[in-house]
């Protein structure tokens, strides 16, 4: 463990282990944002383990735990997510005792209804891949746009046509695609703990058993989409074809279209063909899961 790599120990007692020193420093009041950064950055490994530990405890208490590496990874992932939010928001909370602030922040996350999207199948590589894409789409517009590529295999031009965007918005789509290819995809895979081997295996399944692969993916992506759609602005609900049609022809709800259609397989079917000015666009889209960006 790398917990002991602290540069500036509290110093009073050399015999005191660094870990204890770090922990006790975190219990003291810090009074400026800079001090907060300094104290907290020295204690990242300890804080990550702490958040992971309480996430594990929460999963156990709610009957969602199993002693295997998939669950360990799941707890680590959320622990790190909480820690990132703490790093950013905590510094605005000074003066505070960082450790208790952190504990209460994690406890607060766990007190929400359905704090995360848990499903045993989402812990396996394919599920983790899809869960990772959808979770990332909620916080990143690049990832949101990339969902169109990963789910249907579309490029920027098709995304623009399907969602019926105008010139200015189109430019953004190209940018989203480029950034996702350059770094976003890799970063998401890393954060989901998907190894090269696992990704290679997904790729070969896609090649060899295309149909089974896609139908399995469809089931899982529905679970993930239903969970993460709750994060949409104002719970943009599903609409009827005439409602979608009105939105497309009158040119409003650009955000609504982009967000909801990326995260809802059914509405994509419903709204199909409305985007490209009514011209024939061919068959309804089918799920064609892409592993690579």
């Amino acid at each position: 463990m790398s917990v002991t790599r602290m540069q500036n120990t509290v110093g009073k007692s050399q015999t005191m282990s660094d870990r204890t020193a770090t922990a006790s420093r975190l219990e003291e009041v810090v009074s400026t944002p800079d001090e907060f950064d300094q104290v907290v950055l020295q204690a990242l490994p300890m804080l990550l383990d702490r958040a992971t530990g309480s996430t594990k405890r929460f999963l156990r208490e709610t009957g969602q735990w199993n002693d295997d590496i998939e669950h360990e990874k799941f707890a680590l992932r959320w622990g790190s997510e909480y820690l990132e939010r703490f790093l950013v928001c905590g510094r605005t909370e000074v003066p505070c005792r960082p450790l208790f602030l952190f504990d209460s922040l994690v406890a607060k996350q766990h007190s929400k209804p359905e704090p995360f999207c848990y499903h045993p199948d989402l812990l396996r590589p394919l599920g983790r891949f899809l869960d990772g894409l959808a979770a990332r789409a909620v916080i990143s517009r690049d990832a949101l746009i990339a969902l169109y590529h990963h789910v249907y295999g579309w490029g920027p031009g098709e995304v623009i046509a399907v969602t019926g965007l105008n010139g200015l918005e189109s430019q953004r789509i190209y940018k989203n695609f480029r950034r996702w290819r350059d770094a976003g995809w890799q970063r998401t895979m890393d954060e989901m703990g998907l190894t090269k081997a696992e990704l290679a295996e997904l790729g070969s399944q896609q090649q060899r058993h295309r149909q089974r692969f896609n139908s399995e993916a469809e089931q899982l992506i529905r679970v993930a989409q239903a969970h993460y759609r709750k994060s949409e602005p104002n719970h943009y609900p599903c609409l009827s074809r005439s409602q979608w049609g009105e939105m497309f022809t009158q040119g409003y709800g650009c955000d609504y279209r982009i967000w909801h259609l990326a995260l809802c397989l059914d509405c994509m079917q419903t709204a199909w063909g409305l985007g490209s000015n009514g011209s024939a666009i061919g068959e309804k889209p089918r799920l064609e899961l892409q592993v690579r960006p």
Partner: protein
């Protein structure tokens, strides 16, 4: 690879990414900033414009605000108190975003204001000062001293630039006029005839004035700072003052738009004249005079309008001060209540070492012994300066200021209370 190794690799990768958070970030300045309230996306903030603003009204309380890039990188955020205000300025490399959250019983309100890098303004000021310096070296200090205040500054510079042009012209032609004292008042009286070279030079200077004006257009937005401070002051008041905020913002918009319109018109005029100079090679003296005259007239009108708007702003400030004064009597009824309960029975020794600090509340769940009355429960919660939250299957949610002892020890203490049957942290 073994599973242990796989897990350890994953853990160290996550740590690496957390560690490199700040250094990795480089925002593409043209991309909007994504705004999240309670981890739900609510809109975007233009990351290039001057004074781009997003206002969000929520039915629920605002717990958290987060700002992210399009890539999803968390740029900053804050945790808001359950009641009252929280403001924070988030630095984004060079620019900043002013966040202001107000939670009331009716819900939450967020305003996010984009503030461009200070360098943007100092650069604008510097180039204006340099140009003015070249035109009227001896008048620069006075001009800066005079103009340091908000909108008036812009006006002063515009006036000085025009004065500088006239002064320059007067000194150039001193051989014609017996009294070379440049007057600070713009003189549009008839000027002596001049050789074509001089006229061309004048044209050039007029062009310069036009360019200064373009820069002034940018500089106009520096009044933003004043508005931001005003907004912060307003934010400290109760929500009943929200209407004042919106009128201040409106005034700001009016000033900006009006001045921009004006300057554009003036600039076009000057531009036209200059092009005329270039094509003809010579220009009628009257035409230049007319151009200068119209610049001055425009400037005058502008001054009057700005003065009117300033007055308007002043009135708003006065209103604000009055509101402030009336508020000062009872700045925070909540705290008053807290002080009262201080004196009453305190079942737990909760250290009050951080008075007034807006901490993230500490949240725990309790069940009470059989037959405990609602009244004694309330008394117990009040004694901790706590707030009751939801009730779920007999468990009562309680929020308090974070205790000075670790959560486990705190729970032990709680469980020791007579009326408490059980206590735990998660639901």
């Amino acid at each position: 690879m073994g599973q242990e190794e796989d897990l350890e690799l994953y853990r160290s990768r996550l740590l690496e990414s957390l560690n490199g958070r700040s250094s990795r970030y480089l925002r593409d300045a043209s991309d909007p900033i994504q705004v999240y309230v309670n981890e739900r996306r609510v809109g975007e903030l233009e990351g290039t414009g001057i004074g781009a603003m997003l206002r969000v009204q929520c039915v629920d309380h605002i717990d958290t605000v987060q700002l992210r890039t399009e890539e999803g990188t968390l740029l900053g955020g804050l945790v808001a108190p359950e009641h009252g205000f929280r403001t924070d300025r988030l630095r984004l490399s060079f620019d900043a975003i002013e966040l202001c959250v107000h939670n009331t019983a009716q819900g939450g309100m967020l305003s996010a204001l984009f503030i461009p890098a200070p360098g943007f303004w100092s650069r604008a000021w510097k180039s204006i000062a340099e140009t003015v310096d070249r035109l009227v070296p001896h008048r620069l200090d006075a001009a800066l001293a005079y103009g340091m205040r908000s909108v008036a500054f812009t006006q002063a510079l515009l006036a000085v630039a025009v004065v500088g042009l006239v002064a320059d012209r007067v000194t150039t032609w001193t051989w014609m006029t017996p009294e070379p004292t440049p007057s600070p008042v713009v003189q549009t009286a008839s000027l002596p005839a001049s050789p074509p070279v001089e006229t061309a030079r004048l044209g050039q200077q007029l062009d310069e004035v036009a360019r200064i004006q373009a820069k002034i257009g940018e500089a106009l937005a520096s009044q933003q700072n004043g508005i931001v401070q005003l907004h912060q002051a307003v934010a400290k008041l109760s929500s009943t003052q929200e209407s004042v905020v919106s009128s201040v913002v409106m005034v700001k918009e009016e000033v900006k738009e009006e001045l921009e319109k004006r300057l554009e018109a003036v600039g076009r005029e000057a531009d036209r004249t200059t092009r005329h100079v270039a094509s003809k090679g010579r220009v009628e003296q009257e035409q230049l005079e007319a151009a200068i005259h119209s610049l001055t007239a425009d400037n005058d009108r502008l001054s009057k309008e700005v003065a009117g708007l300033e007055e308007n702003n002043q009135a708003l400030k006065t209103k604000l001060q009055a509101a402030n004064a009336s508020k000062a009597v009872d700045p925070n009824p909540d705290r008053l209540l807290a002080r009262q309960t201080d004196a009453s029975r305190q079942p737990l020794q909760l250290a009050d070492s951080l008075p007034g600090s807006q901490q993230q509340p500490f949240l725990f769940w309790v069940t009470f012994s059989e037959g405990t009355s609602q009244e004694s429960i309330d008394q117990w919660v009040n004694g901790m300066k706590g707030h009751k939250g939801a009730v779920n299957e007999g468990w009562q949610e309680v929020r308090i200021v974070p205790p000075p002892v670790p959560p486990d020890r705190f729970l032990e203490q709680i469980r020791g209370e007579k009326i408490v049957k059980a206590a735990r942290i998660s639901q």
